[in-house]
Amino acid sequence: MAFTLVQAGATLKLVDTAGTPSAALTLPTNIGLSTASSRTPRFAIFGKYVVIVNSPNRPLTVDGNGDVRVLSPRPPGSVPVVSAQSGGALSGSYKVKQTFRIKDTAGNIIAESDFGPESAAQAVTAQYLRAASLDLSPDSVSSSMLYRTTTGGVVYFPWVELNGNTQTSIQDDLSDAGLSLVAAAPLGSAPDLVTIASWRGRLWGGDRVDIDHLRYCEVERMSAWPRSNDILIPPQGADTTGIRALAPRREALGIGRRNHLFQVTGTSSSDFRSIKVTENVGIESQESVVVYRDTAYFLWKDGVYGWDSGGIKCLSDGDAGRGNVRSWFTTDSYFNRDEFDIAVGQIDPVRNKYRLLLAAAGQATLNRWVEFDLNTRTWWGPHQTAAFTPVSAIVVPTANDVLEPMLGSSTGFLWEEQATRTDDTATAIDFDVDTKYHSADTPDIQKYWDNPSVFTIAQSAGTLTMTPSLGEIDDRADTPMSVDLTKTRQQLRRLGLGKHVRFNLRENTAGQDVVITGYELPYFEIGRR
């Protein structure tokens, strides 16, 4: 059965499909989790492990047992002291290197550190080769691995493994011919990653220090990050944030900077290359990025973009004259644009929507959200709730492996949708809709607006308040009308004179559903004055 890993405050917890959280997972020694808004936890699934970066002071892995480990152990720091020991049958001149390994209970290698420093060459003649003064790891490791050259060689081969983290010497007389035929695989310490993505069987991430460099691990070896696995994402030094976000699509890895979008293509270290997709579009927030069905959705300064095989398109600029909500993102009337860097995106796979959490104008918390309907390319919202303050958005696998979009709150709960139109147990949902100003295409003609008929799906109870605004476009609201929601059709009072009319539709009762199928509005033209 699946589960959900969350960072709650400065702890990691597993939430099962019944919604029951575990106790705080035990973090490795000297590891802590930040709760700063700039250190939002970022996750990737790699094999049977979840990798978490940015909030911890070192990248971590978590498995289904709740075991938390460092992604890469620190490499040995001291130089092995090699010597010849009596006995044995080895002859030649050899060098030795040490690594640290983390293994599971079955002996599978989960992580291996970078190589420690190389020993001096040691000649042996029908003797044992001993490596002493081996380093002990400050991390919780399972063993040390010793590599050595063939006689006079420079290529390292696996030699012997020293179980545990207490012994500092080992010796063996294994012949060159007895060494593994395969040389030591490339290793390297994982950098302090701020972003993470799984793509092409590798982990990819942006470095907190080398902010313009994209780093990646070896194929299927999440702990091995050779320094050469590095791609510069220009312009180098052009800003203080560097790589802001990653967007792994099927055949391309998107890399967002403040004002650029790049993609990496290729299949191996020999042909990975970065290509500039566009200037003047970047990614504001890693958390706004969602890749769904090979389309990456993300927030930039002037709106929400979609990037697919057809290119990049600003979704909030509308399509064929519809769905234009650019003002949401380019004015200060709706949202606090200073907080775009903490915006959080989510795909609702049930209703097929891209949901984006934002801070209301003048606010610093993610207390609003808007939705982009992927089927109709339309925008809805801004929505809000009085029950809690959203902080994060997570698609949670529930029982029977159903994927449900949920919101994580500042109060420590995951929130799922329910059919009942109530937030929490008793908080009303404030349904508040403004229609267009109707003019019957004759905005300069005075009209008499007659009795509107409202069509709804009948509910067991409830009343919708329908407030007309009559007159010119900027005229005030008129006397509200009540729509009985238990009826499927209701004729309301005559509205009166005006060139325009629009309606505000509002309902704010806990547990009350509202389904409006439409309205009819008869009118009579009076004339032009």
Partner: protein
């Protein structure tokens, strides 16, 4: 002029805040707070959004981020861990088809008996010198069962001599045969029994006892690498020398180590300890002949050193745990004298950073658990029940030690700290049964 607006697309066009008021289309909205197009059943209509209700209990602390993980959760309240422990009749001969105990409570309550059911009956064998069965010594170490990818691989029952020993798989629901141990072409016999299995990575190493039963010559054994997916068995190195049977297996220094029992022609000899590097070496390298006894009963890697326990016999009545340091020097780490014949260090596990091994003094009928913290040996448990602790395992932060043996019914002791032990023997349902060294724990998510 009269007219009528018919507006039935309120839930179709969504919000448009960029057009002027005059240019909005019918159906477009300038605000849709908590209003949605409901594509699930009410498409076209305008509907209040669904409510939001707490899914989780309080996780305590702002949920700053998270990820849904499509992997098995192996901890927490929705996970049931069922321990399967093979049983054998306490009467001479053991090896009978007495099925398993199963427990979902770690034997804190009465265990369930599985007789000739699912999983199928296991096969065990009591060691003997030809006339006297050795109390409790049966199967091997760590034992003839492992759990790999939440499936129990175990030695199934068979007719000795006639059939080749099967390796079976039980996934918690279905039980099936994976493979059988190949015929021994050197001895031209079938293996007698599977002594031990050891999981290393995604390979299961399997050791066998081959050759004649009883006390005759031509008794040896082999070690195989088992591919748990295909069932392919590949012999590692050559057959062990006559009389030497690979009873104990361990993985240490990147090598597979085998400790042997010895019995041939009515004579005893000290057990040996050999290693091989699978896929590199073509034969076993003898690393140590133990200083005492007639066999190596356990091998375990602990803090970078290899530890081996012995079985006493006429060739030595002192119980020893020998230690191989990281540069290959063997010394005696623990010595317990005057044990007499047929006593043994029986099993060993690592628990909470310490090494634990069980010791049975057959002469005095005293069973103890010894603890080693890396520098000092202490006695962690003296059972007082005169029953051998043939098997030890660790599950869910609890250490288990139990067994019984020839004409000795089962016992089971558990501890959460290695210091305070609880006797769970009363929960071992059934009479005249003892436990064998086949144990596996399967997790089920409810």
């Amino acid at each position: 002029m009269a007219g009528k607006l018919n507006l039935f697309n309120l839930g179709s066009l969504g919000v448009n805040v960029d057009k002027s008021a005059l240019h909005l289309e019918d159906g477009e909205l300038s605000k849709a707070q908590n209003a949605i197009r409901d594509g699930i059943g009410q498409d076209g209509a305008l509907r209040k959004r669904p409510g939001l209700v707490k899914y989780s209990s309080d996780v305590t602390g702002s949920i700053l981020g998270g990820i849904g993980v499509p992997l098995a959760l192996l901890t927490g309240g929705t996970v049931t861990r069922t321990t399967y422990w093979a049983r054998q009749a306490k009467a001479i001969g053991l090896g009978d088809t007495q099925g398993w105990w199963s427990s979902t409570t770690g034997f804190t309550t009465s265990a369930t008996q599985i007789l000739s059911g699912t999983p199928g009956n296991p096969r065990t064998e009591e060691l003997s010198d030809g006339s006297t069965p050795f109390s409790g010594l049966s199967t091997g170490m760590p034992g003839a069962a492992v759990v790999f990818q939440n499936r129990l691989y175990y030695a199934g029952t068979h007719t000795q001599g006639t059939d080749r020993p099967p390796i079976r798989i039980f996934d918690g629901t279905v039980d099936w045969e994976l493979t059988r141990v190949p015929h021994n072409g050197v001895l031209t016999t079938n293996s007698t029994v599977i002594f031990s299995m050891l999981l290393v990575g995604s390979t299961i190493y399997v050791s066998t006892k081959d050759g004649t039963s009883g006390d005759g010559a031509s008794r040896t054994g082999r070690v195989f690498a088992l591919d748990p997916s295909s069932g392919a068995l590949t012999q590692l190195g050559q057959d062990f020398p006559d009389g030497y049977q690979p009873y104990a297996l361990a993985w240490h220094m990147g090598r597979l180590w085998a400790g042997t029992m010895y019995r041939s022609g009515g004579a005893d000899a000290a057990g040996t300890i050999s290693w091989i590097r699978p896929n590199i070496d073509t034969d076993w390298t003898l690393d140590r002949t133990m200083s005492q006894g007639r066999g190596c009963t356990f091998l375990i890697s602990f803090e970078g050193q290899l530890y081996a326990g012995n079985w006493t016999g006429t060739s030595g009545t002192t119980g020893v745990v020998e230690q191989r340091d990281s540069v290959g020097a063997w010394t005696v780490s623990l010595s317990v004298g005057s044990l007499g014949n047929n006593s043994a260090f029986m099993h060993a596990v690592e628990f909470l950073g310490d090494l634990y091994c069980s010791l049975y003094n057959q002469t005095a009928s005293v069973s103890t658990v010894r603890k080693f913290d890396g520098s000092t040996w202490t006695t962690a448990l003296t059972t007082g029940d005169s029953k051998p602790l043939t098997t030890m395992w660790v599950n869910a932060a609890v250490i288990y030690a139990g067994g019984g043996g020839d004409n000795v019914t089962a016992n089971l002791w558990t501890s959460t700290d290695g210091t305070s032990w609880t006797d769970r023997s009363a929960n071992l349902t059934g009479t005249n049964m003892c436990g064998a060294s086949l144990v596996g724990v399967l997790a089920t998510v409810t």
